[in-house]
Subunit: 342 residues, 2 copies
């Protein structure tokens, strides 16, 4: 590394003995220049430590190398995990991932879309808030920017959707619970997104298929504080007495975590062993659910597959010019994770 800083590409090109347009071409695609000149540029690169000015680059490129990642709630480790995986893959493919969280708020989500628009990203991976989303705003956004939706579906919006097969996963755990004890009742999550309703319906269908009467416990409470909802509503339900079943299937793990706390507080022993008053199961295989007491029986979502397939779909979309021939929906199956809670 030499002493003085390089100011611009002009200067770097001069120092490496190559013309600026060729250097520019190199940075757009190192393979587009002759191997010998590529070597010379890379040698100079080591000595002078130069990087093109991103702002100038992005101003002049029709499309940037940015990829927007939008999640509804980053304080949920599920989204933190999935965002991490997506980031990694974008970087590996030579893109610049930019992460946003709507923090459960429609206004914030809309602002993010606005910001994103002016960033002119090559594409966007969007896990929308769901019910709280401004459908019109999201739709307009998707018209301008190549977007793949994931986790939470909004019918007809975006070029593709990647998520998990709630019908399969809920069906599977319902069947498991029925085989191993009392048929479960369903502890619903606040209907923040379509997954809430899909899971409820999947539960009802599975129960009816198996010849049992479904019981859905509706919860009061909204927003993304699922643990709190699970806890307060769990206490309410337990205190009220008369649960239709000793087995509770929760719409997601965070709800189950809150419910476990409520059961503990009420002195109800949870588990599938003898002496247990309650079985509790969740959905998602949240990063912390293996450390609950007792560890949570749940269905794991295929994080890697969802993240990976979302990204690949977006890359294909970008290469195809931003418009897909048809909107494709991909659902990944869940995997039963048997632990001690049910």
């Amino acid at each position: 590394m030499d002493g003085h800083k390089i100011r611009n590409m002009e200067e770097f090109a001069a120092l490496s003995g190559i013309s600026r347009p060729t250097v520019s071409k190199y940075f757009n695609d190192p393979n587009s220049v002759r191997p010998s000149t590529r070597k010379r540029i890379e040698t100079a690169l080591e000595r002078y430590d130069y990087r093109p000015n991103i702002y100038a680059v992005n101003q002049n490129r029709r499309l940037t190398k940015n990829i927007g990642i939008v999640v509804p709630y980053l304080a949920d480790p599920f989204f933190a995990e999935i965002a991490r995986t997506i980031e990694r893959r974008c970087l590996d493919a030579g893109f610049w991932p930019i992460l946003f969280s709507a923090h459960g708020d429609q206004g914030v989500e809309n602002n993010i879309l606005d910001s994103l628009r002016s960033l002119r990203p090559a594409g966007v991976l969007l896990a929308p808030l769901g019910r709280a989303s401004d459908r019109k705003a999201v739709e307009l956004f998707c018209r301008d920017v190549p977007t793949v939706l994931f986790d939470s579906e909004i019918e007809g919006i975006g070029e593709a959707f990647v998520g998990s097969d709630n019908s399969q996963s809920i069906g599977m755990i319902v069947e498991y619970l029925c085989r191993t004890g009392e048929p479960p009742c369903f502890f619903e999550m606040p209907p923040v997104n379509p997954n809430a309703n899909k899971r409820r319906r999947a539960y009802v269908q599975a129960m009816e298929r198996l010849g049992h009467t479904p019981h859905v416990i509706h919860v009061n409470g909204s927003g993304w504080n699922f643990e709190e909802v699970g806890h307060s509503e769990g206490k309410r339900v337990i205190e009220a007495g008369g649960l239709p079943s000793d087995t509770l299937l929760c719409s997601n793990d965070r709800l189950a975590i809150g419910l476990l706390a409520a059961a503990y507080e009420k002195g109800l022993r949870v588990g599938h062993g003898p002496g247990c008053a309650l079985r509790i199961a969740g959905h998602d295989d949240h990063p912390f659910s293996r450390y609950t007491c007792p560890p949570l029986t749940t269905v794991s979502q295929n994080y890697d597959a969802i993240a990976g397939h979302s990204v690949e779909t977006l890359f294909r979309l970008i290469e195809a010019g931003g418009k897909a021939k048809a909107r494709e929906t991909t659902l990944f199956e869940g995997r039963l994770v048997m632990r001690l809670s049910a």
Copy 2:
């Protein structure tokens, strides 16, 4: 909103009947133009929906309005929470927060610093990895970019540090534990950052001050999977038998969560009531620790204060031109959160 899109500031200025330089001035500071012209611009803004091209703006400004936020591990809800608070405050102050997570990896952290450098941010709020940080790289970075460190201290680096007063908080909970039962032994976290060592030392000092013999339980394991470390090491320690005390103070809540799982698995009842074999306490007041079974007694870090003061310090720093007269360190006290686990 009129039909056709505005291409640039020139066009927008023409349509609103104002000269471009004045419009430019407006966007830099709406109050820097006469109220009457401001009105005219804002009226036009409603009709035409124009936004300056960020890339062009950032290329020409000496300093951008970007603020980098770097955390070591975003899948930890503690950092997700604090990042959220910081983001909000930056936006309110008219800045563009850009969030990065090092995902516990030195290479990633270094790449982030590199990217950040070329983003020419007005300032950076950095919670470094700690021990895993490339000290030299961070130091060089801080020389070029106004940076406030938070959460994890690196002596002498950055223009300021904001964190929690481990000595106070650990001292307080040690004293509480001693007053209410057996003096605790200390379940150490993997020494990923200085907080690990500071907390251990604070524990030892507090115990000696109170006339007790400190016992530190060293853990094997590294990285940021604290729950896993707490769980596996907890099982190991319990199986080995001969714990020096029935009270365990964990270096942080995530470790305690893992330890709670281990105790549960081993059939040890945790809590401060009768019939309990173990008391477990944590540190941080992790968002989930009120939902553990039993709920975790811990020390809450003052998230808001740490986030708020970090941001304010950075803003002052930016206004002062990026260099502080002296490096100031601010530590916030923790608050004892008594729950059922100890």
